[in-house]
């Protein structure tokens, strides 16, 4: 009997039936017509919650391009009490009261368990991405206020939810990477991440001198840190 465990199927929105044009490496697809998003897990479609974020008023008249970011709410438990000096944590993290109190609270508790929201870029990136301040990291440290907007055309996501959860863990554990005084020993801390819920946030960006600037906080990404930016731009402008 012939076995066919791999097949081609037309890429159409499961909600409204409109054809979707996606990138070759995309794992999450978005419908520009009805704004729904879905992941393909093996051969099944799985709906993804999605929010298109309204830009700040001062950026609203710019030519905006929407890039997807996973927004993940996770419960973090540190299973072994650690003796960590909070003053070792870098300034960009300390500048944010919410994050500092979260971390400090988490580390001081007898049974440290708390919830945290992570922003993880879901768009394809190049190696250039790691050389700069990452908007995902900065959004996590200083979360923006998200207001819902009407559906937009958005580039597909190359990172699945499963991958994004791993990226969030790396982001959290990278706090020790950022310390100046060596390693903080979070690795040996036996940290559990229990993912609670997630959605994709379509974040507006505009172009400015070789950079892409987000329309919420003004954080910047090099255009060439995005995989195939010119192709993405051409596709978004065509629609």
């Amino acid at each position: 009997m012939a076995t066919t465990d791999i097949k081609l199927i037309p890429l159409r929105c499961p909600d409204c039936g409109k054809d979707i044009e996606s990138g070759e490496d995309d794992l999450v697809h978005f419908c520009s017509n009805c704004g729904s998003g879905f992941e393909v897990v093996l051969d099944k479609f799985k709906k993804v919650n999605i929010i298109f974020v309204k830009p700040k008023e001062e950026f609203a008249n710019k030519k905006l391009y929407y890039l997807p970011m996973w927004q993940i709410l996770s419960k973090i438990s540190i299973n072994k009490k650690l003796n960590i000096d909070i003053s070792q944590i870098p300034t960009e993290i300390l500048a944010n009261d919410r994050f500092t109190s979260f971390l400090a609270g988490l580390l001081k508790k007898e049974k440290p368990i708390d919830k945290m929201m992570f922003f993880v870029p879901a768009f394809g990136v190049t190696n250039r991405y790691q050389l700069m301040d990452q908007p995902g990291y900065l959004f996590t440290v200083k979360p923006p206020k998200l207001e819902s907007d009407s559906p937009k055309d958005m580039v597909g996501a190359e990172y699945s939810l499963e991958d994004a959860i791993e990226l969030a863990k790396v982001m959290f554990l990278s706090i020790q990477y950022h310390t100046d005084k060596g390693l903080m020993g979070l690795k040996g801390a036996d940290i559990t991440f229990d993912y609670e819920k997630a959605r994709i946030a379509g974040i507006p960006f505009y172009e400015e001198k070789g950079m892409l600037v987000d329309g919420l906080k003004g954080y910047k990404i090099f255009k060439n840190a995005l995989k195939d930016w010119d192709k993405i731009k051409a596709k978004l402008e065509k629609n």
Partner: protein, 312 residues
């Protein structure tokens, strides 16, 4: 283990039936003829593909390569799987390696001055702190036919088709995967992470947090011809890729040669023994009855088998 050039996988468009060539690892594609956007799905977590053999006359190829006078003992086609796993390794690493304090004799115009040593200096001290975000690829050989040169099989320039059990078995035997695809993915992730940290094994203090994400695997079934030949009095095992004819391994079977000599040189002796045993049995059976002669025949059979294969 950087990313290799992609193989091409042939599909039929579900809308217009045209042939579409998709580069390995892609999740979507577009039909050039009807312009429909298409999604590549699979049920087992990794697509299985196969290539058709380009030749069905392997003996001709063997004679072209080794001459007309070779003796081809046997030749068979086996579909051997290999799995390409690519992944993005993310995380960070940091470590410290102690240096060694070095002090050397000083030199003057008249030569080495062993009484005065140079100022001590630290050599080989290293400190590393890196963010990692790297796409890597590894090829696994589930058959573990390393000695047949399976690691030399490449996908480059080949056209693969969607796996079809029936078609594969028409050409030859198929080596099934001993483990699940999940287990191979885990094995590949460990190998890729190990590739990054292996440079820091001699560090005194080393910590890392590395994870494999965006894992993609493709299972290729490539037809390989395995042949046993005798050429110039020597015995060889020879394997070659049935798609592009590339030689994989020509292994001079030393042990096999000695064993074979024993069998082939002694074949006349063996026939002599068979004849003698046959005559003896017929004489015994006439005088001792069928039961005993049957048991003796079994012993004789076992003895002959032992002569042939007992030392393998």
């Amino acid at each position: 283990m950087a990313k290799s050039a992609g193989a091409v996988i042939a599909f039929s468009c579900p809308n217009c039936g045209s042939e579409i060539d998709v580069i390995e690892g892609y999740t979507t594609t577009k039909c050039k003829f009807c312009n429909s956007s298409l999604l590549i799905t699979n049920k087992i977590g990794a697509p299985r593909v196969f290539a058709r053999p380009k030749t069905d006359k392997p003996k001709n190829i063997l004679r072209e390569r080794f001459g007309m006078n070779i003796q081809i003992i046997d030749v068979s086609l086996i579909y051997v799987p290999f799995i390409k796993v690519s992944s993005e390794i993310i995380g960070w690493l940091g470590g410290y390696k102690k240096g060694v304090v070095v002090q050397e004799p000083t030199y003057t115009d008249s030569g080495m001055n062993i009484d005065t040593m140079s100022t001590p200096r630290l050599v080989g001290e290293k400190r590393v702190k890196k963010r990692i975000r790297r796409i890597l690829e590894v090829k696994l050989d589930p058959s573990e036919f390393y000695r047949y040169g399976i690691n030399r099989v490449s996908t480059e320039g080949k056209k693969f088709e969607v796996y079809d059990d029936e078609i594969l078995h028409r050409f030859g035997d198929v080596f099934d995967l001993p483990l699940s695809i999940k287990e191979y993915m885990e094995k590949a992730s460990d190998m890729l992470i190990d590739e990054i940290i292996r440079d820091y094994r001699d560090f005194d203090d080393f910590e890392y947090y590395l994870r494999a994400i965006k894992k993609k695997a493709i299972i290729y079934f490539n037809p390989i011809y395995f042949a046993r030949i005798k050429s110039g009095g020597e015995f060889y095992t020879y394997s070659f890729d049935a798609v592009n004819g590339k030689a994989l391994v020509k292994d001079k079977g030393k042990k096999r040669k000695e064993e074979s000599k024993k069998v082939f040189v002694g074949i006349n002796t063996l026939y002599g023994i068979i004849g003698t045993v046959g005559i003896t049995l017929s004489l015994i059976s006439s005088s001792m009855g069928r039961g005993l002669s049957f048991v003796l025949a079994l012993f004789a059979g076992f003895f002959l088998w032992w002569l042939q294969y007992g030392n393998d």
